[in-house]
């Protein structure tokens, strides 16, 4: 209670516009204290172990560990494959959202529900299913290899396939609500002013969904960079060729090179922070856009 009233006084003296009455309800100290304690014990202190452990290496050792050729190759693969997969999801996710919102077809509700499958399906299950599908004896793998001479499983292409799978829901689910909220009147107005359908789509619809598109893209990319379970089965995991960064951390760990594993993980953690910041900015932009339209 004391903290709550202190909080009120502090808020008052700062003369910040407060939402009406916030702060008079009980439980502030308890709920905030518990949340912060839980976050510290489970998240912050354990995460702090990463930079501290990698400091064992010293600055030059750290730099050597995170820029070894095999590590650099894994960054290139991880970020490259994630970027391609996120771009594919950007295009086809927007298309799927459009089709799910605007068109009607049999089985639409079931398909709409199934879009979330990659969230719900354990990544290891997705991994072995995709591998079975795309390996030489699989339905698609045999088709692709005989028809086009294309090998997908156990190559970097397989990694892209797995990352496309796990990224599907992100773009669809961020664009879908925005498309649903769009008022038809705007399109009507554009059309009555003489715009062609294509012009309406490009000049009216696309700008409206752009923040959501980019948010979905960034979310899919961020998820793909850290992905492990669905990738390890289909990747083949050859050093320098098809070894993703998370796998490299595990192989360091298996060689009892704890500091080396921590160093690479620190780099990945820093990347996560950067992506998280970018996603937050994009979401703020999207929220502003929505308020502007409302």
């Amino acid at each position: 209670m004391v903290t709550a009233s202190l909080q009120q006084t502090a808020a008052f003296t700062r003369r910040r516009p407060r939402r009406h009455g916030a702060g008079i309800l009980p439980g502030f100290g308890l709920s905030l204290g518990y949340s912060v304690l839980y976050l510290c014990l489970l998240v912050l202190i354990p995460l702090a172990a990463l930079p501290i452990k990698s400091a064992d290496l010293g600055w030059s050792g750290f730099w050597a560990a995170v820029t070894a050729p095999r590590v650099l190759a894994s960054y290139q693969l991880t970020f490259g494959a994630s970027l391609i997969a996120a771009l594919v999801n950007l295009v086809f996710g927007a298309l799927a959202a459009w089709v799910l919102v605007r068109y009607t077809f049999p089985g639409k509700r079931v398909l709409d529900a199934l879009v979330d499958l990659p969230f719900a399906l354990p990544t290891a299950v997705a991994g072995i299913a995709l591998t079975a599908l795309y390996s030489r004896n699989g339905w698609l793998g045999s088709l692709l290899e005989q028809g086009l001479g294309l090998k997908v499983a156990f190559t970097p292409k397989g990694i892209v396939v797995a990352l496309i799978f796990i990224g599907i829901p992100f773009v669809v689910r961020t664009v879908q609500p925005v498309l649903e909220d769009l008022e038809r009147e705007i399109e009507e107005a554009a059309a009555s002013l003489g715009a062609h359908r294509w012009q309406v789509i490009r000049r009216v619809l696309l700008p409206a969904i752009l923040p959501a598109l980019l948010t979905g893209f960034a979310l899919a990319f961020a998820r793909a960079v850290g992905e492990y379970g669905s990738v390890v089965f289909i990747a083949g995991n050859m050093p320098m060729v098809s070894e993703i960064t998370p796998l490299l951390i595990i192989s360091k760990l298996e060689q009892y090179d704890y500091a080396g594993a921590a160093a690479i993980a620190t780099v990945m953690l820093a990347m996560s922070f950067v992506l998280l910041l970018a996603i937050n900015l994009l979401q703020a932009w999207q929220a502003r856009g929505r308020e502007g339209r409302a």
Binding site: Q7, S31, L39, A96, W98, L121, V125, W139
Partner: protein, 300 residues
């Protein structure tokens, strides 16, 4: 095929609609439905007998048991954290609130492998608490507690993330009314807040549960994969697969796929329910969890 009845100037030409529809369905069919179908086809390839044998053998049974135990421990802890966090963040103003909200998104962008690694660094034999744990004959990493910790790390945000937007949209007028009528804090929560957020809670709980039962990366780093002891279902699938026991691997995987499908079905049900309630109470649809809007228009 596309029955949207619209004037031609507000719609794409028929052939464009057909092509877009085919492209979208082709993409979703290829990358979504086909992998799902593969799981079940491969699981039953060698018949029912082997399928049943694969999911009832002792190692599989102990993996299923461990997965259920881990889920049963993480769910109440996540519920407690989710409610506490959402209450603190939505009912009060304080400095650093935005940082706190951003922090709970962290597990979504941190690689699951990193999530597992941090607990090895803390509690492994080389870790900070390693010597102390060894001296007291305690084991966290490469044992069940490590599996639980890693699962908690990757699942703690789900419920908080559902509740925060929901409670923010609902505001705290009803709670304040209850307070002026003399209700205690616990009464306010149980009689006013809880009924308002119950669908959000269910929604967050099933998502967090699906992730808890299906987590692979983080758990595989900390479990040490001792058969029959620290193997969860996903790790059991991996071991079977790497031993070329494909049908058995897919049999256990099909159980996890069924869990995923059940999760999606319950999720959709909750979305319809809360969307229906939202309409009944004439509360704006924004109070429903964000994805609920999809459900609302689907039923409309």
């Amino acid at each position: 095929m596309t029955a949207a009845i619209l004037p031609p100037h507000l719609n794409e030409p028929r052939w464009v609609r057909c092509i877009l529809l085919l492209l979208a369905l082709g993409f979703l069919g290829l990358f979504l439905l086909l992998p799902l179908a593969t799981v079940f086809v491969e699981a039953f390839k060698k018949g029912w007998v082997l399928y049943l044998a694969s999911i009832t053998e002792p190692d599989a049974r102990s993996a299923i048991r461990l997965t259920l135990i881990v889920a049963a421990i993480s769910l109440p802890l996540n519920l407690l954290f989710g409610v506490a966090m959402a209450w603190a963040v939505t009912k009060f103003q304080f400095r650093g609130k935005q940082v706190l909200i951003t922090l709970i998104d962290l597990p979504f962008s941190v690689s699951p492998v990193v999530a597992g690694l941090i607990f090895v660094l803390l509690f492994g034999s080389q870790g900070w608490f390693g010597p102390w744990l060894q001296a007291h004959d305690l084991k966290i990493v490469y044992a069940v507690p490590g599996v639980i910790l890693a699962t908690l790390f990757v699942t703690f945000p789900f419920i908080a993330r559902e509740l925060i937007p929901l409670m923010q949209a609902q505001g705290s007028d009803e709670e304040q009314a209850a307070l002026t009528l003399g209700a205690s804090g616990w009464q306010i929560f149980r009689r006013v807040t809880l009924p308002n957020i119950k669908w959000g809670l269910v929604y967050g709980a099933i998502l967090s549960n699906a992730r808890a039962m299906g987590e692979f990366g983080a758990v595989s780093v900390v479990s040490g994969q001792v058969r029959g002891l620290t193997n969860t279902m996903t790790l059991h699938v991996e071991i079977l697969y790497n031993e070329y026991q494909f049908s058995a691997a897919f049999a256990v995987a099909s159980l996890l796929a069924l869990l995923a499908l059940a999760t999606l079905a319950i999720k959709r049900l909750v979305e319809w329910r809360s969307a229906g309630l939202a309409r009944q109470d004439a509360v704006p649809t924004t109070t429903a969890p964000q994805a609920c809007k999809a459900g609302a228009t689907a039923t409309a």
